[in-house]
Symmetry: C2
Subunit: 271 residues, 2 copies
């Protein structure tokens, strides 16, 4: 059934626009459940679902509360989704986002492995990070637009930009760095932007730089523009080119050769 | 050890800025591993780590590839992080983001449950969504600034805004809705913005609306501004107020009462 049909049907059936958020914080559930059950998160959700299933159009599971409990939490999430009656709309609220080929993996995880009817996703990466979710035509993707928190205004309300948005973000990162533990992600595919961001952030803030290799980022420019004046505080990531270099028993030897060559190539360009 | 000390030390020790991305796609690892091992993702990572650990400063695990495999994948992720030699910097690349109290759960999941040295996070929600990560003073948080994908320019390069950014996003959502499966998240705490977004999106695009209850969103305005002309396509979420209404054996009865009252309250304001 298409998501719209399912949502409309349950809205009419239960005469309800209400979604109960199963933000099942292990620290807030009744203490007797923790003592009496081996699977308290699931037992809690089961009781809430049994008590409210004729009153809601949807359940929304915020994934953070389950991930915080590790594998046990993820097991509770899976069991809960399976337990929810089939007529009720299930939203997995994970606010996922990534570049295209990786966003596809998140879409698979949420829609296929976990069987969500709908998900929440973050738009900051633009269309190609959203598209893999939208390819699931029978599912619905809720894109963050104006969030409910006080700091929503930091970026979402901006009406005047004194510089491109990524530079506004870079300036905020510098401002937020009071504990000396901020870094920034900047793609090697955009060497000029990398230079600008390094200029804004100074020498102490590390950059995590994906995008060399398959994505086409140039190593020399990446090192010149991304490292600090000591030639450090830049972490140059390569994934597919290295880890999938071989397919046979000796695949790791091929990976080692690729990694060694790339490390050395990077080092020849450090100041 | 502080993240900077750890990163600097391994950078010098291995003379390397290279980070190997363990984007361990189950569909791309050598076929013989899938056939010969009960834990192929972990075995693959183990071999790559053994072959490259003297060449890198960091390993980065993109969580999407593990989540796509369900609980088995998450177990492989946990085991891999434990297997990585203690001197090497571990980045968990999950691009997480949420409002403050929930972002705290993600920070806990990544830094405490999964023992990352560093994480990636998305800035779209502003400072209060970032702060819980930055409270971990010995850990590093890489904030997305300029991503490596082609669509990075959709928002990150904006220099002129014809309307507040959230409205620019809303217009993109309408544009991206070619499969009729986009929704938008708008907080009930901002009723005027809700009205504007509903205006931009028209009648067919559903809104997921958190922020009533504990966060203070007004129900009447939320319904008036958030539903479509049929009084539908708005999903009004409430979490803590409902699920934590009781603490004793009869907790679910209290939840039911709260849910019923809220559903009815919502319905009195529907057109």
């Amino acid at each position: 059934m298409n998501w719209r049909e399912k949502l409309t049907r349950v809205t009419h059936q239960n005469n309800s626009l209400l979604c109960v958020g199963l933000d099942t914080d292990a620290k807030k559930i009744p203490p007797f459940l923790i003592e009496s059950s081996a699977t308290p998160l699931f037992e809690f959700n089961k009781a809430i679902i049994d008590a409210t299933k004729d009153l809601v159009c949807a359940y929304k599971l915020n994934m953070a509360f389950y991930e915080a409990e590790g594998l046990k939490g993820m097991e509770a999430l899976e069991r809960t989704v399976r337990y929810i009656p089939k007529n009720i709309f299930v939203i997995l609220d994970g606010k996922r986002n990534d570049i295209g080929n990786t966003a596809q993996k998140y879409a698979h995880a949420l829609f296929e492995t976990l069987h969500a009817d709908a998900v929440t996703i973050n738009p900051y990466l633009g269309k190609d990070g959203i598209a893999p979710f939208l390819e699931y035509k029978d599912k619905c993707s809720f894109i963050l637009c104006r969030t409910s928190n006080p700091s929503a205004h930091d970026f979402q309300d901006l009406t005047v930009l004194t510089a491109p948005l990524y530079q506004v973000v870079a300036k905020k990162i510098r401002e937020w760095n009071t504990n000396n533990n901020c870094g920034a992600v900047v793609g090697a595919t955009y060497p000029e932007e990398l230079k600008v961001v390094r200029g804004i952030l100074g020498d102490d803030i590390p950059l995590l730089i994906p995008g060399i290799g398959k994505q086409g980022g140039d190593i020399e420019k990446t090192i010149q523009n991304g490292t600090n004046t000591d030639g450090e505080m830049a972490i140059i990531n390569s994934s597919r080119d290295i880890i999938f270099a071989g397919k046979s028993q000796d695949f790791a030897d091929h990976s080692r050769k690729k990694a060694e060559a790339l490390r050395n190539d990077i080092n020849t360009h450090r100041p």
